[in-house]
């Protein structure tokens, strides 16, 4: 009785195995959990016979026929993009899949942005620098690295700052120096560096003064050389406004700086008060007695 029962069970198992051949030799695919972008590696496959293999990546798809039961080499060029990949092997019995994370390689690229391109001198927190660190395949290097920022200009001692990246981004804000001219900012990670140059320009006028030379019915006005509070000459073309108030009313002359100074001439009608301004800065005021 027991022997007959055993035979029945054995026959049933054989029937099941014959009906589903894959059950006895199921396919499986076993990649490493993580690999580095651009590095070749092997995937272990289990089963027998041929199968269709799929590598499904963020920017790349591979489809090819493989022999199960053998190690499957994957080229580094197939995993250049970091991120999640799906590896799938399918034969007539079905499909088997596994996930693989490709991690970024070492830092080799910098996207470096500096804002603004022109900045007034002696202005606190006026310059923003942002660096995005990526590997040679342009994958963002998520692991923290230190970015060095080097600053140099013609008249000031060079100096450096450093900042760690957070999710691939390092940033800082600094003030401009006191001297106008180009300021070079270099961001560096390891052997990689990127340079940007911004222009530091004179700030607002400081201590604006004019001299008046009166003639019979007119007055000639001339400013002293117009400079900011750090002694930088304001660029030629900067507008200086002269305003006269006399018996004839109020009149204003806007004139650009030429060779660092501004000139103007007014016809007078009685006693006049004349003031000078450049941007938001007011200069001195003169009072002149003209002929009525």
């Amino acid at each position: 009785m027991i022997v007959a029962l055993k035979m029945i069970v054995t026959i049933r198992i054989l029937v099941v195995l014959l009906a589903f051949p894959a059950l006895g030799q199921s396919i499986a695919i076993r990649p490493p959990h993580t690999v580095i972008a651009g590095i070749s590696f092997s995937v272990t496959t289990e089963g027998s016979g041929s199968a269709t293999f799929y590598l499904l990546g963020p920017s790349h798809v591979v489809k090819k026929t493989i022999q199960l039961g053998q190690d499957l080499p994957i080229s580094g060029s197939d995993v250049a993009t970091s991120g999640l990949y799906q590896l799938v092997a399918c034969d007539s019995s079905g499909c088997s899949s596994a996930d693989l994370y490709v991690l970024p390689s070492s830092p080799e690229r910098l996207s470096f942005l500096v804002h603004p391109s022109r900045v007034p001198v002696s202005t606190a927190n006026a310059i923003n620098a942002t660096a995005v660190v990526s590997d040679r395949f342009r994958n963002t290097v998520v692991a923290p690295v230190t970015v060095m920022f080097h600053f140099s200009s013609a008249d000031a001692r060079p100096y450096s700052r450093s900042g760690p990246t957070s999710r691939g981004i390092a940033w800082l804000k600094i003030g401009s120096t006191t001297k106008q001219g180009p300021l070079q900012i270099v961001a560096a990670v390891g052997e990689t560096s990127e340079a940007r140059v911004i222009q530091q320009v004179a700030s607002e006028a400081c201590g604006l003064r004019m001299q008046a030379t009166s003639e019979a019915r007119s007055v000639r006005l001339r400013t002293d050389p117009v400079r900011d509070c750090s002694g930088n000459a304001l660029p030629d073309g900067t507008i200086v406004s002269f305003t006269k108030v006399d018996d004839a009313g109020r009149s204003t002359v806007d004139t650009p700086l030429k060779k660092g100074v501004a000139n103007a001439q007014f016809t007078l009608s009685g006693r006049a008060r004349i003031s000078v301004a450049c941007g938001v800065v007011l200069g001195n005021e003169v009072s002149i007695a003209g002929q009525p």
């Binding site: 798809v61 489809k63 899949s97 804002h115 994958n139 963002t140 999710r167 981004i169 804000k173």
Partner: protein
């Protein structure tokens, strides 16, 4: 209770509702779910170094949702041109390459999008870049011709860099990152 009732009666219920709306609007959270768009919820509480403006948050949320819709359509139909409206730079290049490979191998990928919990983590001082961390609930199916070769439903994490254009925000970088928080 009596005082509250009296206050509400004086001020009027609509005015109280307006106050409540204004109070809620101050929180840096944005959400969008149009009929055909994936649900995107943006949390900007921990963003630095500058805060996000209300309208910017709404625009980023809207444009990021559109980007995912375009991504899903492009990968399902293998039409590269669908990427042009919302993607730029590296993100567009990579998706183009993926679709190009899908065309060559006869594959297509279907994204069933079940929503995005997005955290804005970086907004540059000049307003030129915004970095997001997205936890996306996605059902992913890959077809080879008519045959399904891969199907899974999972939470995927993405590191996203968005940059502003003339009238919208573009996805410049979209990288899946490992399960632990990047």
């Amino acid at each position: 209770m009596k005082r509250i009732y009296h206050f509400a009666r004086c001020l009027g219920i609509p005015a109280l509702l307006c106050l409540l709306w204004v109070w809620c609007a101050d929180f840096p959270g944005f959400s969008i779910q149009a009929a055909s768009l994936p649900k995107v919820t943006l949390n900007a509480e921990s963003i630095s170094p500058r805060p996000i403006e209300q309208r910017t948050g709404e625009a980023v949320t809207r444009d990021y949702a559109h980007a995912w819709q375009d991504l899903a359509d492009a990968l399902d139909t293998n039409r590269i041109e669908l990427l042009n409206d919302c993607f730029t730079g590296e993100a567009r290049e990579r998706l183009r390459d993926r679709i190009s490979d899908q065309q060559k191998t006869g594959l297509r990928t279907r994204y069933e999008d079940h929503g995005h919990q997005v955290k804005a983590v970086f907004y540059s001082l000049d307003g030129g870049e915004m970095q997001l961390v997205d936890e996306a609930q996605i059902e992913l199916t890959v077809f080879d011709g008519q045959k399904t070769v891969y199907r899974t439903q999972s939470t995927y994490k993405y590191l996203v860099l968005m940059t502003p254009g003339a009238d919208q925000w573009y996805v410049r970088s979209l990288e899946s990152v490992a399960g632990d928080k990047p």
